[in-house]
Amino acid sequence: MVTLRFPADGSVLDTSLDLAEPSRVVVFGPNGAGKTTLLRLLAGTLPHGPSLESAYLPQTPYVFRGTAGWNLGLGLDAEEAARAAHLANRLRMSERLSAPARELSGGERQRLLLARTIARRRPWVLLDEPLGALDAQDRMQVARVLVEELGDRGAVIVTHDRDEAAVLGEVLAVLIDGKIRQVGPVAEVFAQPAGAEVAATLGIANLADGTVQAVDGPLCAVGVGGQTVWGVGDQPDGSHVRVFFAAESVTVFGSTDQSAGSARNRWVGTVEEIRPAGRLVEVVVDAGLPVVALLTPGSLEALSLQVGSEVAVAVKATSVRVVPA
């Protein structure tokens, strides 16, 4: 357990985190929760932290005057520099290394600095919103490289992005108002948020781990709790994966209604819980896997849903992400 307090009275951050075993810990929380402060304490750029032996990438991918290649090698020894070059290649930055760093786009700067940071031979890597400056199509590819290259080293990754947390994390720590409210395996925390505040912070997401059973073009079928979930991803058959989708993308039908439109995922189950979520309503359906749907009160009434109702839920496969677990 490392104690993380800043400033001395703990008004910004006052919590602790178990970093005894190396794993990829995602610290997830809203803006202003103290995420960056936590990372700076760990990195030792703020005083009185536990100062983990780590390589730290701050949130803003700042590059210094000089070529991209020079920036890539900054502070690295020969072995680390070779690794950085390999990483830059994987992150599609090899062609850009002779360019002045100032001419790189935000996404290119981020990929360059990720390569440099991960290349350093330190037991822990600290990343502040590592996919933040990347565009949507880059994110998943970079996330995969990150996960692979980190290997079994430890990482503390800060984000306010649910998808980023789901893709990058093994352990999820939810930070609210300077305190970690819940820590646990990612799927567990998403499935069983400890209290309304944590649930509201996480947003209503469906997330589960499973195994790829079939691959069909851009889609793969993932076995989760006896159900098959179709989603977008190119993980090989048999690989261990994580699937997730937003509650907003779930449609609920009466159980007798056979239609599901173009949705590839259609499961039948029972309503387990109905709870308010602001002006909307969350409906939790046990369909072999727990599915959370976000509905308007009007839809709830039209379907006359109650706890125990038989329903069908549908999700378009294109709304489901499949990533390496």
Binding site: A43, L57, Y62, F64, G75
Partner: protein, 230 residues
């Protein structure tokens, strides 16, 4: 009007002839101011980066000292060095009084705070993201300073220009410790004082014109260095 016309004509004549006396004064000016600037920059720039790259009590005291030093009247700097090199002073044995060496020491004393202050201001003006990235790199102190200085390159060039401008234009310090001895310690500024006092305005103006040309050439050169792309 006739006075001004004649003065202008005499000034031009003095410049065109560019006699050995003028040459000697110009050379000594460049030597003294150049050496003092070099010392000022070599000490001041590292001092400035040390001041800017960290927080501590000792740094705060030095920062104050540098700021005060930036505003020190040259004649006072001259007086302090005069006491130092005076025959009975701490450096009296070295027999530096009324030599170019004493002038260089006095001017370096003026140049160091300027070079340090401008450098520190430039580094402290770095974007917070740059400072954080610099901290995150975990480089040693010297390597951190090198990266920071390269990052604020125009500020470093400004520090050099400010140091040179301060010493080449000052008259108080060199006059007090050098004594304005013709052929030995006379530089452009002290020569201007001398000629003005003797109402030889044309020669004084000629010296002044040369001084401005030196300033122009140096600054054109520094502007080219500053615009160098990385």
């Amino acid at each position: 009007m006739a006075f001004l016309r004649e003065l202008l004509a005499d000034t031009v004549r003095a410049l065109v002839s560019f006699g050995p006396e003028l040459r000697e004064v110009v050379w000594l000016t460049l030597f003294v101011a150049g050496t003092a600037t070099l010392i000022g920059v070599l000490v001041g720039i590292p001092l400035g980066s040390w001041l800017a790259l960290g927080e501590s009590r000792i740094r705060r005291i030095w920062r104050l000292a540098v700021n005060v030093g930036m505003g020190m009247p040259p004649v006072l700097a001259g007086l302090l060095i005069l006491i130092l090199v005076w025959d009975d002073g701490p450096l009296g044995q070295a027999r530096l009084l009324f030599t170019p060496a004493a002038m260089i020491i006095a001017q370096a004393f003026l140049a160091i705070p300027i070079a340090a202050g401008v450098t520190a201001a430039a580094i402290r003006g770095l974007a917070p993201a740059a400072r954080e990235q610099l901290d995150a790199l975990g480089l040693g102190r010297a390597a951190t300073a090198r990266v920071a200085l390269a990052e604020v390159w125009p500020g470093v060039v400004a520090a050099v220009a400010a140091a040179f401008g301060r010493v080449v234009s000052e008259v108080g310090a060199v006059l007090v410790v050098g004594g304005n001895i013709a052929g030995e310690t006379r530089v452009l500024t002290t020569a201007i004082v001398q000629e003005a006092r003797q109402a030889d305005f044309a020669t004084a103006l000629a010296f002044g014109a040369v001084l401005m040309v030196i300033a122009l050439v140096i600054n054109v050169f520094l502007a080219r260095v500053e615009s160098r792309r990385w």
